[in-house]
Symmetry: C2
Subunit: 410 residues, 2 copies
Amino acid sequence: MTRVVIVGAGFAGLSAMEELQGIDADVTLIDKHNFATFQPLLYQVATAGLNPGDVAFPVRTMLRHHKRVTFRQGILSSVDSAANEIGLLDGSRIPYDYLVLALGATTNYFGVPGAQANCDAIYTLDEALAVRNKVFAMFEWAASHGMKDFNLTTVVVGGGATGVEMAGALAELKQRALKTDYPALDPSSARVILIEAQDRLLAAFSPSLSKYALSELQSRGVEVRLNTAVKAVHNNGVELADGELIDSKLMVWGAGVGVDSAVRSLGLAHLKNGRIEVGSDLRVVGANNIFSVGDVAGTTAADGTLLPQLAQPAIQTGKHAAGSIKALINGETTTAFKYKDKGTMATIGRRAAVAELSGGLKLTGSAAWLAWLALHLMTLLGVRNRLSVLLNWSWHYISWGRGPKVILGG
Amino acid sequence: MTRVVIVGAGFAGLSAMEELQGIDADVTLIDKHNFATFQPLLYQVATAGLNPGDVAFPVRTMLRHHKRVTFRQGILSSVDSAANEIGLLDGSRIPYDYLVLALGATTNYFGVPGAQANCDAIYTLDEALAVRNKVFAMFEWAASHGMKDFNLTTVVVGGGATGVEMAGALAELKQRALKTDYPALDPSSARVILIEAQDRLLAAFSPSLSKYALSELQSRGVEVRLNTAVKAVHNNGVELADGELIDSKLMVWGAGVGVDSAVRSLGLAHLKNGRIEVGSDLRVVGANNIFSVGDVAGTTAADGTLLPQLAQPAIQTGKHAAGSIKALINGETTTAFKYKDKGTMATIGRRAAVAELSGGLKLTGSAAWLAWLALHLMTLLGVRNRLSVLLNWSWHYISWGRGPKVILGG
C-alpha cells in the first residue's frame, strides 16, 4: 500500500489531507501538537477576546471523517530521502512513498539584538496565552499596589496585519478595561505604541487602506510611529535607531515570520531565507517524492516573487501537492501550481477593518469588519468552536469587552 | 469610614461581598487569583467536557456592580488581631475594622505516604487542566508508539461526590474517545478504578442512592472497590492495605478536602482538623471583629456536627457573617447562624445523577441529571460563562463527547 506522510497540521497540511481523501493509500499526519491552531485569531486570545479552546481543534476529532488517516504526535528531526524515511525527535522512523512537508513558520526577529529574549510573540497558542497573562498580571500588580501612574505601555513592533490587529485590540482592551475594571489606574499610562520601519502600515495593501488603518488606530489611541527602525530590545524597553528608548515592560514582536533554523539542517534544497526550495509542481528541488507546502515552502507567484506566509497560499499549495501525489500514484504527470489571489483582510477594532479583494475591490469600516467576521467564522474548524467564537464575539460586542480576563497558571 | 476586608473570592467570600452591598463601608476583597473558580465543574475541565475559561470568572468584572468594593490580588500571610491588620505575602499590610476569612480548603491526603507526591487533584483550575493534559498525553503517547496494550488505567481514590463524578466522567470519556479517536488502542486497557474505604459510595447520601450510583458507575465500566483502604501511593500505582498494587500512571485523589496547614500558623483559634474555630455568630473564637466562613471555618450544624465543605454552607455562612457585620456597624447585636440544608446532588454521567433534597425527596436518573444541570447553570457566575457551558453541554450531549481534547503547554 502506498504510504503518504504529511508533517504539519496547519492550513497547508490539513488542506493536503482533505484533498487526499478517498485515495487508495495509507496517510499519516504528524504534528507536534494534538490540535490544530487557528492562527488568525491568536491575537484575540492574547487580548482576552477569546478563550484558548476556541481557536484549538483536536486533530483526532477531525480524523473521524478520514478513516485512512493515522495521526501521530511528534516532532520532525530528520529526512532521509535516500531511504525514504523521516525521523522523529523521540527516535522513531517513519517510512514514506510520498512526503509532504508543511512545517509552517516561526517568528522572525531579523537578528535584532535582544528581540527574541525580551519580546513576546503571538504565533502559537501558548505564546498568546502568555501575553494575556502578562497584560493582566501587570494591571493587577499596579492596581494592587496603588501604583496609579505605573507605566503600562505596550510596544508592538511591526505594522503588518499581525501588528495592526494586535495594537488595535490592545488599545480597545486597555481603554475599556482600565475604565471599567481598574478605576484606580490612570488610562493615560496604558499607552499602546506601534512601530513600523516603512512609511506606511499594511504594506501588502493599497495606500488608501494603509491611510485608513492609520487613522482608525490613532482614533483608538494607538501611537503609530512610521519610518522608525528598532535597533535593539532591552528588558526595560525598545531602543530605536536614533537612540531613543521607549520604556515598556511588555513588547510584542509582530514584525514578521520566518522559517525555523532547524529546517536548514534537514538537508533539503532551500532559499537564502531558509524556505524550502520547490519546483513549479511544489516538489522539493532535487527530490522526486517530497513536496513542500505552506509557510515553509519557497513557493512563487506568477511574477516570480515569493508568496506571502498566509492561510490562502498554504491552503492552495497543500491542495495542489495532494493533487500531484494523486496524479503520480495514478501514473500521470504533475502540473504547475498557479496561485489564485483571493485578496487579504485585516481587522483594526470594533466595526473597523480593511479588505482588498482580488478584483481590486476595497472595503473599509463596518462592511470590511463584517466580511472579516464572516470569513473567519466560516473557516474556523469545528462547529462547536464556531458557535463558541460566535457567542464570544456577540457577547464581547454587546458587553463592550467582558472577556476571559483571567490569569492562569503560576 | 469603616473598613471591611474579605479574604477569599470563593462561594463564601463572594456571598459575604454580595450581602454587604449598599452598606456605608469600604470593602476590600482579596484573592490569590484574579478570577473566581466554579469548583463544582472542575471535574468536567479535567475530562475535556468544558474549557478552563468556562468555569473561571474575572473578579473585576463582577465588581462593576459593586462600586464600594476594591479588589486586590494577593496571598494572606498573617493576621495581626491586636493591630487590626493583615499581612500579604508581598509584604503589604492592610488594616481592617472587620475581617472575613473565607480562605477555602485544599486537598486532604490524610497523611497517606506518597499520595501528595504521586496523585493529581482536581481542586483548582490548574490541577484540573493538568489532569486533562495527562490523560490525553498518555493516549497520544500510546497511540503514536503503537502500544496497543499500554496500561491506560486511571485510579480515582475516594467514593464521595468528587470521586464519583470524576470516575463517571472519565469512564465515559475513555469509552468514547478510544472508540472514535484512538482506534489503535485497546479500550479494555483503559480501566477506571474507583477506590472507597467505606462500604458504600456517596456516604453523605441515603443508602438507596449509593446503590444506584454503584450500579450506574459499573454499567459505565467503572470498577468500584468498596471497603478498600489505600496504604500508599507510588509513582507506578496505588498500594492497597492488603498489599495489592494497582498499576497506574494516572491517579486522581478525590478522597477529601482539608484546611491548608498555613491556616494553623495564623494564630487564631482552630479545631483539631485545622478548621478555624468560630462561635455561633461565626466570629472567630477569641476575636470580636474577625469572622470565618466557608470551608475554612469549623461551623457546626444544629446537632453539633461540622458542616460539610460544600457550596451551600459556604454561601450561607458568608451571607450570615456579612449580616452580622452590618448589625455591629449599626450598633445592633449579632445572631446565631442556622444552617438550612437544601440537599445535595452528584452526577454520574449521561442522564444519570442522584439528588437528595431537604424534604427527603430523592431523585435519580434523568430527573436528577436535569435538576443537576439546571442548578449548576443557574449558579454559575456570568452570563457569558452560562451560555458557553450550555453550548458545550448541548454539543457534548448531541455529539457524544467531542470536547476540547487538546494538550496545552509544554
